[in-house]
Symmetry: C2
């Protein structure tokens, strides 16, 4: 089978090609890990939700969208303050098109989704400026590992995405605590990436915890507990558990580099069986540098779905081309998985058509 | 492949043979649905747990045993007052031997298991003598359907077991409310089946609900709400969701006839893709009549694992031959699935050896 030309090999080419050849024409399972953190409510940090308090509803609503094709916890779908739909719309469309099974893992949502989900025993996260942001890190890692081991038996490979507003700031937090320089390198849902604010928030958190850059590089559990978010232990545990048997595509942008760094300190050999799958919007983002983060500690390959909404008939989708949103809910990884599964049957044009169709149905529900 | 001679075709032979041919050499997913009900604490009803209050710990401990190979919520493993190990030991051994993935679905446990589990949104059940025993029946059915639909995409077929102390009494309750005569026909974990007590408990529940035999045969949701238990809507929903795509083996004894009756009123065509998988101890039990219940409303076939512990070196296992326990945690269905998957590689002798090995490890932990 010819590789799908709409899957971009973005980084660490030989490993990326090997990974791609392992997933082509194969049946994946898609897991979305959801949680909330008070960090996401710091004004100016995230566009994931119409207003800060609304971010509590974004992850459960995303989860409902993937499983039911519509939301239950909110009307319509999660949108940014500018009216741009959640990237979960892309994920849902890709998974539906390629008939890929989806499972939700709850790592700590304040508002529980009204659907079946795997409970991993975490709590919603506190503001990382407290220096004490996440509970039960070790236990969640263990439970997620157990889940990953079992779920890996059911599928050729596992795709793992996330939905957590504020996740790039906590990514900067964890990366900094582990001694990886990510300042100015993490992505944002906003076109004007608020790097200074993120750095300030992370510095405040590290200081409150009595820590500094790199001081927790031998204590990843504590690093997450101090300045991380609840999806991190869940994602790392799921990936470590699943890679003992099958390849894992971490579906997300720069947030996933923090997960890689966590895995690197917990179980580095798992990285040999992992790739990052994201969107063209992330890899071509001038305000962030996913490769620059990964290169500091591993050779994990990066794939990107060549999504392009510039010709969409919907302004709400076109606006993705201006740098808003970029990624989330595993949109890039789900698109890659759909295209890899179905070969040339699904290309970016067909995917956009499906996204537009689903979008029009969803806005009609409003 | 020759059918495994240790899988007994027990009822509705042609359909059973067709079902068996569909699962031979195939990869199943095993789901155990767990919950608790105060009904299980009525003295004299159940042997599932050392004393009535201990029954709150039996389902979570069974779930932990399946996923981790040991329990966390309690020391050692769930045992009866006489020291007989949980049938979950059989299930765990069979699944391990055949490398079958397992997922736990929580339909309403008072004590939550310390492992990852699918949360279906139910609550622990009340004593059916109140006539108001189960919450959220409709919602749990819907969520379980959604989960069943997704999980069915990952596997060739689905095996669904249960762990709920008191489940045969609530089965009698639901069957009676739906107008199916199960008096004196449901099984028991005890060799002296307390039929009179079960009937009395059910009659009290129906009366308290202002209902009588058959009066809810057109209102299955209410029937479960009044005199059922929390695993019923979960099992029915999972089965209905999964059968739209793959065969479903309901792994249990007479309790599963109540689930069949529930499915029969909700979505009868799903029954065409379902079999019951149980143990020899259930089909040859002189104190119950699984076929006599099934025959009243459907042609679902019954398979049974030809388990025989009479030659076991462990008295705790030998005692299964006296009529104690008989079934539970999907022991029969898991054994059938393991033998069907691996053909003649796994027979009842090998399975007993694995059970004995795991048993000796577990009692050594005590």
């Amino acid at each position: 089978m010819k590789p799908n030309p709409d899957i971009i090999i973005s980084h660490n080419k030989p490993k990326a090609e090997t990974f791609l050849s392992q997933i082509e024409n194969k049946n994946p399972l898609f897991i979305t890990t959801i949680a909330t953190t008070e960090t996401g409510k710091i004004p100016g940090l995230s566009a994931a939700g119409q207003n800060p308090d609304f971010t509590d509803f974004t992850p459960p609503a995303d989860a409902e969208l993937l499983l039911l094709g519509k939301c239950k916890s909110i009307q319509s779908v999660p949108i940014t303050p500018d009216g741009i739909p959640t990237p979960g719309l892309i994920t849902m469309s890709a998974l539906k098109l390629a008939d890929i099974p989806v499972i939700i893992a709850n790592a700590g949502c304040k508002v529980k989704p009204q659907i079946p989900y795997i409970e991993l025993g975490g709590n919603s996260g506190r503001d990382i400026r407290t220096g004490n942001s996440v509970d039960n890190v070790k236990e969640v890692i263990e439970r997620a590992k157990t889940a990953g081991q079992q779920l890996a038996k059911t599928s050729d490979y596992i795709v793992i995405g996330e939905s957590i507003p504020g996740g790039t700031t906590t990514a900067l937090g964890l990366l900094s605590a582990l001694g990886i320089n990510a300042e100015g390198k993490v992505s944002s849902t906003l076109p004007q990436n608020p790097h200074n604010l993120k750095t300030e928030v992370v510095q405040t958190g590290l200081k409150a915890a009595g820590e500094k850059f790199g001081s927790l590089n031998n204590n990843p559990i504590k690093a997450v507990s101090c300045v991380g978010d609840p999806v991190m232990p869940a994602l790392a545990g799921l990936a470590i558990g699943a890679t003992s048997r099958v390849p894992v595509l971490l579906a997300g942008g720069t947030q996933m580099t923090a997960v890689l760094a966590l895995i690197n300190t917990l179980n580095p050999e798992a990285l040999d069986n992992i790739a990052i799958g994201t969107t063209r919007w992330v890899i071509s983002d001038p305000t962030s540098d996913i490769k620059g983060i990964v290169n500091q500690f591993c050779k994990v390959p990066i794939l990107a779905a060549d999504l392009n909404f510039s010709k969409s008939e919907f302004p709400g989708l076109q606006i993705y081309e201006t740098g808003l949103v970029k990624e989330g809910v595993g949109a890039g990884g789900a698109s890659i998985a759909a295209m890899a599964k179905m070969g040339s049957t699904i290309d970016k044009e067909l995917l956009l058509k499906a996204i537009e169709r689903n979008y029009s149905v969803l806005i009609a529900m409003k």
